[in-house]
Assembly symmetry: C2
Homo-oligomer: 302 residues x 2
C-alpha cells in the first residue's frame, strides 16, 4: 500500500468530486417534462439528487479509471447504478416494507409525496437505469452495453438485491446464522457493490484476471460495508447517520453484530477491509483510492 492510501484527504476530495459530477449528470438524465406526469419526475429527483455518499458511483468511476475509460461512459453507468440504489431505498422505505419516515435526514419519498407516487418513482428510476445504460452514449460497443444491462439486472433482481430483500423479510422465519446472514447481505447489498466495481472492467474490456481481482475486492468490501452498517445501527447517532438507528435490535433481527458481538464484528470488518485491499495488488498505485475506500467503508460515521 502506498502513502496515498494511508491518508484519507485525497479520498475525501475524490468522493466529493464524484458526488458533484454524479449530481450534475443525474440532474441532466432526470429532466422534468411538462404535463401532469411531472410529479413522478419530481419524486425521482427528490429521491436521487443531492443525497448519499455516492459510494457505488465512486466505485464505478474508480474501477473505470484503472482502464482509462472515458468519463462520459463511466459517469452514465455510475448514475444508472445510483438510480437502482435509490429506487431500492424508496421501495424499502414504504409502509409495507420498513415503514421509514427519514432517509438521509429528510422525509422519505412517500412521506414527502405519497405512497403511490413513491412506488411509481421507484419503478421509473429502475426503468431509467436500464434506459441509460442501453443508450448509445454509454459506450460505442453495443456488446459492452448489453453486458452491462444484463449484469445490472442480474445483480438487482430476484437472484440479487430483490432476492436479498425477500430473504431479509423472511429472516424471522429462519434460524439465521452467520452463513445465512452473509448470503443475505451478499444478495441484498453485495451484488450491486460487486457490479459497481466490475462495471469499470466491462467498460474497459479488461483482462479476465483484472475483472476477477475487482470482483474479489468488491466481495470483501461489500461484506465489510454491511458489517459497518450493522455497527452503525447499534453505535451510530441518528443525526449523523441520517436515518433511524437501533432498528435491527428493535425488530429482534439477527445481524452480524447480534451474532458476533460488537468487538468481533468490528474485527471482522477490519479484517475484510484489509483483505479487500490485497486483491488490488495487480493495479499498483492506480488503485490507491480504492484501497483508501476500504478503510473509509469500515470507519465511516454515516
Amino acid at each position: 500500500m502506498s502513502q496515498a492510501a494511508a491518508s484519507s484527504a485525497p479520498l475525501a476530495d475524490a468522493l466529493k468530486h464524484t458526488a458533484e459530477i454524479v449530481n450534475a449528470e443525474l440532474d441532466h438524465l432526470l429532466a422534468v417534462p411538462d404535463g401532469p406526469e411531472s410529479r413522478v419526475h419530481e419524486a425521482m429527483r427528490y429521491a436521487s439528487l443531492d443525497g448519499g455518499k455516492r459510494l457505488r458511483p465512486f466505485l464505478v468511476m474508480q474501477s473505470a479509471g484503472l482502464f482509462n475509460v472515458a468519463e462520459s461512459s463511466s459517469l452514465r453507468v455510475a448514475c444508472a447504478i445510483e438510480m437502482v440504489h435509490c429506487y431500492s431505498l424508496i421501495h424499502d422505505d414504504l409502509p409495507c416494507m420498513d415503514d421509514d419516515d427519514l432517509r438521509r435526514g429528510r422525509p422519505t419519498c412517500h412521506r414527502q409525496f405519497d405512497e403511490a407516487t413513491a412506488l411509481l418513482a421507484g419503478d421509473a428510476l429502475l426503468t431509467r437505469a436500464f434506459e441509460t445504460v442501453a443508450a448509445a452514449a454509454t459506450h460505442p460497443d453495443p456488446a459492452v452495453r448489453c453486458e452491462l444491462v444484463w449484469e445490472l439486472a442480474h445483480a438487482s433482481g430476484a437472484d440479487g438485491m430483490v432476492g436479498g430483500q425477500m430473504v431479509d423479510l423472511r429472516a424471522a422465519e429462519f434460524a439465521m446464522d452467520v452463513a445465512a446472514i452473509t448470503r443475505l447481505q451478499q444478495m441484498k447489498t453485495g451484488r450491486l457493490i460487486g457490479f459497481s466495481c466490475e462495471a469499470g472492467a466491462v467498460l474497459g474490456k479488461a483482462p479476465g484476471v483484472m475483472r476477477q481481482a475487482l470482483r474479489n475486492y468488491a466481495h470483501d468490501l461489500g461484506l465489510a460495508f454491511q458489517i459497518a452498517d450493522d455497527l452503525l445501527d447499534v453505535e451510530g447517532d441518528a443525526s449523523e447517520v441520517g436515518k433511524k438507528v437501533g432498528k435491527d435490535a428493535g425488530a429482534g433481527k439477527a445481524t452480524f453484530v447480534s451474532l458476533l458481538g460488537i468487538e468481533r464484528a468490528r474485527a471482522q470488518a477490519d479484517m475484510l477491509a484489509k483483505q479487500a485491499v490485497r486483491h488490488l495488488d495487480v493495479f499498483g498505485d492506480k488503485a490507491d483510492l480504492l484501497r483508501a475506500t476500504a478503510s473509509f467503508v469500515v470507519d465511516r460515521r454515516s
Copy 2:
C-alpha cells in the same frame, strides 16, 4: 382484407398457441431457486403464468413473423414485454394504487401473498424483463438487443407507462377532455402495445417504412383497445372480465365512455380498428392475423 381476416377462428387458434408457448417460456425463464428468496419467485410466477390474453406477446410474435425472425428470438422478447405488463398489474393492484382484490378471476398478488412480496415481485419481474432482452440468446446482434432494451425502457418508464399511471392518479385534479384522456392512455397502455408491434421490426431489422407502418397500426390499435376497456368497465360482466367492473364510474373518473357516451365510444373504437387495419396494406396477406386482432380487440368480452 383477405378472407382469413374476416373469420376469427384462425385468430383464436393463433392466440391460444401463442399463450401456450409464452407460458412454457415464462415457466423456463422464471425458474424457482432454492433458498428463502423462493417466495418472491413464486409470486412472480403467480402473477405472470397462465393468465391473460397474452395480447402483447401475440403482437410481438406476429410482427416478428412478418420478417421471418427466429421464434426463439421473438418469444424471449414477447415474454419480456409480458413480464413488464404483469409487473405493472401487480403494482397497480396494490392498496396504495387501485387497491384491487381480484385479477383475472383470482386473488391479486398482494392478496395471495402479502404487500411486501407483491411489491418485490413486481420489481423483480421488471428487472428480469431487461435481463431477458439483454441476454445473448435473444438475438445474435447486440445492437438489436440494446435497441430493444432502450425502447422497452422508454415505453415502460416515466415517459411512457409509469408516466401514464402518474397522470391517471392525478386525473381528478385536471379537467380531462378527450385529448387529455387520449394522451394519458397513449402513455399508460399505448406505448407498450406500440413497442410490442415494433419489436418484430427491430428484431427483423425491417426497413423504416415497415416499422413506421407497425407503429401506426399500434397507435390506432392501442387506442381502440383502451376504449374497448372503458366500454367493458361499463357494460362488462365481472365474472367474464375477471376483475371488478364499474370502477371508473364509481371513482368518478373521466373515461372515453364518460366523455363520449357509449354509442360514440363504440363507434370511435370501431373506426380506429378499421384505421389500424389500413396501415397493414404494405404487408399483404402475411398480416391477416394482425388485421383480425384489430376486430378482436374491440369486440372482446374480457
